[in-house]
Amino acid sequence: SRICVITLAEAHPLLQSGKTIKNINYQISANCSRLQNKVSGKSKRTCLFIFQMQGAQFLTELAPLCRISSSDGEEYTIYSCIRGRLIEVNENILSNPALLQEKPSTEGYIAVVLPKFEESKSITQGLLTQKEYEEVLLKRRSSAS
């Protein structure tokens, strides 16, 4: 399946020790809230799955998903990084922000995005494997010091 789950990368500042999340906000601008994403469903018997996608917000790589402010005054914008239709945002982290830090790769996920069928393959190929990511982090740290 082509579903993508957006989660915080392990190197994200919010996942470093000492940070406490104060607030998570899915309101991106005056007119756009990720919470108001309408994905209407139809019974599985009718083949109108495409229909439900038309209401869903389309995201580009730089589309903001949410803004997170930590108790030390910092604010972070989390971007989609994936082109596709927004299926759902994780409302569990609104009620329980700690979830985002405790289980960032599972229950603390941020959003679910479904890329377009034609773009699915190229998108997957553009992502880094776990190994490649660790190499990037390694380089980053060595150049910083």
Binding site: S1, R2, V5, I87
Partner: protein, 533 residues
Amino acid sequence: MSSLTEKDRPIVQLLLSTGTCPRCILRFCRVGSQMLYRHPHEDLMKDLQEFLKSSQEKEDTVCLDVADPPCKRIRLEHGEEGADELNYNGAIPQLPSAGDGNSATESPALKVCNVCLGILQEFCEADFVKKVCQKVNSADYQFTSFVFSVSLPPQLSVRERAAWLGVKQQMRNLGLPLAKDDIIQLKEAYKWIIHPQLSEELGVPADGKSLFEVSVVFAHPETDEECHFLATACPDCFKPAKNKQSVFTRMAVIKALEKIKEVDFLKHFPCPPSSPKNLCDALEIQCNNGAIFVAGRYNKYSRNLPQTPWIIDGERKLESSVEELISEHLMAEFKADSFNFSSSGREDVDVRTLGNGRPFAIELVNPRRIHFTAEEMRKLQQAINDSSDKIQVRDLQLVTRSAIGRMKEGEEEKTKTYSALIWTDKAIQREDIAFLDDIKELKLDQKTPLRVLHRRPLAVRCRLIHTMKSEYIDEHHFRLHLKTQAGTYIKEFVHGDFGRTKPNIGSLLNRTADILELDVESVDVDWPPTLAD
């Protein structure tokens, strides 16, 4: 002719002289005796001419009209009337005399009828019947009755209308009253004539409800354009055609004929209709058997077999499927064109189906063979079971279409039981999982699992886990038996699906859990009926 009366005389006279065949003339005179239409063409012609010649002073020219009203049922009625009601004298066909100026000088039997275009002429003859039966026999179908369906070119309706208007006009000119215009339908008369002949040749009766259909499509390209004027007269009757098919369908033409005024009709169409040069063509003679339904239950013993073929971008991802393994044999035995497989729910590729198995039904489309004894079905079941160890079938039987409903109701309403092999990250002891056995009617909220979100709408479903029974294995493994409501996603109940199924085993045990193996232990539907082996 006994069925015709004095008032029919002008009609017969007019139609005979303008190129209409005897059987169509009988139709226009509303003669309802099926037997009469079956008489040879030449005899009918002779009779009509006799009728016209007979003197008008005869007192008893009004003979008994045959009692039976025009019969719309296709079913053959034997002995509906005796053969001796007719004043029929001798079998020698005579050429019409030119004396009373009734008919054309050439033999009318050779002229193609200007109304039926030969349908009630050539296409009632033994030669055509033989041709149809040859096609049927060579197609090698099993059948016990037949329904004969005929597709007629739409211009026949137009010509019929024109001929009738001519008759009405003539009656007006003669100052005579005209009876109601309930002409015998051409298709009906055709079936009266051809059904007994087909029935005789094929050795089975005609039956409107038969599943075996013999169909013929007639066309008359020479006169195809005769309908076109209707498009200008009644444009809203003709919708744009799909797939290059003609806009002038039979239904559309009939609708337009109902709408158009007599006056307008006569402006655009000759009355009486002209005599065509050629007969109709019988374009296609096709046979089709109604679908047959085979039901049963299947077990799946492989963890590497999809239920239906798994093909992405034209490439098969996994070899074979439950559906193919079962239907392959059925297709060969029943000699069908294609099949439709359906079942009471499904399981994943890596899930086994144990116990009594899962109910399924296969629709076999256009089967050549339809009769199978219980013994033959058992043999077929054995053949399927011998051919593969990945699946097994039981209770294989023929069912009706309506029975499928019971299977589908099982999919949504009935319970299923499962056995899951579960792993936990943190260690567990027996006491840690014992409480699961006591939980009854556990309510779950399951969002559509991520793994199916690309083809299912996002929704939250409430499902019940009725009972659970745990079996401790070691510190990181245990087996869980569950009985659940239909439509519950078991894997997601175990691993939680990113917290989108709540509660889940992980949340209940306060650990991270994952599912290693899943088996369906039973599908609690009591259909199809269990067969004694």
